[in-house]
Symmetry: C2
Subunit: 233 residues, 2 copies
Amino acid sequence: MVAFEESGDPADFQDPAYREAVIDLLGAISYGEISAFERLAEDSKMAPAIRDKMALATMAAAELGHVARLHERLTELGADPYDAMAPFIAPIEKFHRHTAPADWYEGLVKAYVGDGLAADFYREIAAYLDSATRDLVIASLEDSGQADFVVDRIRQAIATTPSVGGRLALWGRRLMGEALTQAQRVAAERDALSALLAGDIDRPGLDLAAIGRMFTRITDRHAERMAELGLSS
Amino acid sequence: MVAFEESGDPADFQDPAYREAVIDLLGAISYGEISAFERLAEDSKMAPAIRDKMALATMAAAELGHVARLHERLTELGADPYDAMAPFIAPIEKFHRHTAPADWYEGLVKAYVGDGLAADFYREIAAYLDSATRDLVIASLEDSGQADFVVDRIRQAIATTPSVGGRLALWGRRLMGEALTQAQRVAAERDALSALLAGDIDRPGLDLAAIGRMFTRITDRHAERMAELGLSS
């Protein structure tokens, strides 16, 4: 990994491929958060009580709350935030279309597991970024403090109706599978973004073995989250 | 109007009727904001572009952002926030059911006019409150800075299709009428809240003429907002 300058416009941004990769990344995260807002707001309608609705709505609002800063940074980099988001609309919408929760509990698991997966993935990428971008990415992943609520509700549901556990465990696997499918699609289509991970002559990146270890870390954390919910993954 | 203590637990809260009125008010505002979040998030789906969607979604998130502080205050007053909101669910939901926007522009006008009406109304009531509660109510009415966006979009729509203006002007009247209907229903059912405006032996309130003037101020401001949108009310 290269040393980056701490402030303003790091030397890396002189490299058009690096700048393009950062614009892609911030665009993807931005649209991911807008889209998460929409889906969580929609899923919050299935809540059995206002208290539950509030929890999911709070998660939704937290996602949206990060977008303004990401868009500002895109503008600073000379990019139009809406153009930057455009390439990621189709894969992100496809992810949501393929993982539309059938009920309140599937919605809760999706909120918890989906948020966690996205955060893990972006955190891994953030390690390869200049410090200003890295800080911005990490800040945009802050959760809304509703995780305990989700864990509590899912564990309660399984305690009351044990068969719910098997169904939600399958659901968790489906979420993971669909996330990987769409991530892989993005990687195949966005050269600059995947070059960021793969590295080039000036910027050492990950070899195949390191990419493998990265996915192992991400799937391990997914399994931990599923266990936290009382679900075997 | 009586002088209130500046801090903590004003003398007024010794009066059970005053405390009950404040709990009602904070409950009503809280549920109003949760419900506004839901409706704005729903209406944002009709947006013709992501940029527009973001504007309405940002208004939605801002509404929800005020709820936590209102709930904290309700808890400090010894009330359960969810119990405090319960009496206002039916009238607020009825308002929304009777004013479901048929398209994106009706949604925008509702966001702008509805938000403005609620803010004017609560600001009028806030004048009769102890300073801590007043500050909290005023803070919960801060808008999300999307007003210019709405004005711009509506004026543009009327410029392109003049007939839209007539339809949206009617829509604005319907919003006002439905808001008054539901507010009047709440006033009839919540004695403590209406007593706050009417006053009692210890706390001078509004006589009928003053209540009339208050409604004139609210309808005047509504007319100003409609004019701002390029709509005659």
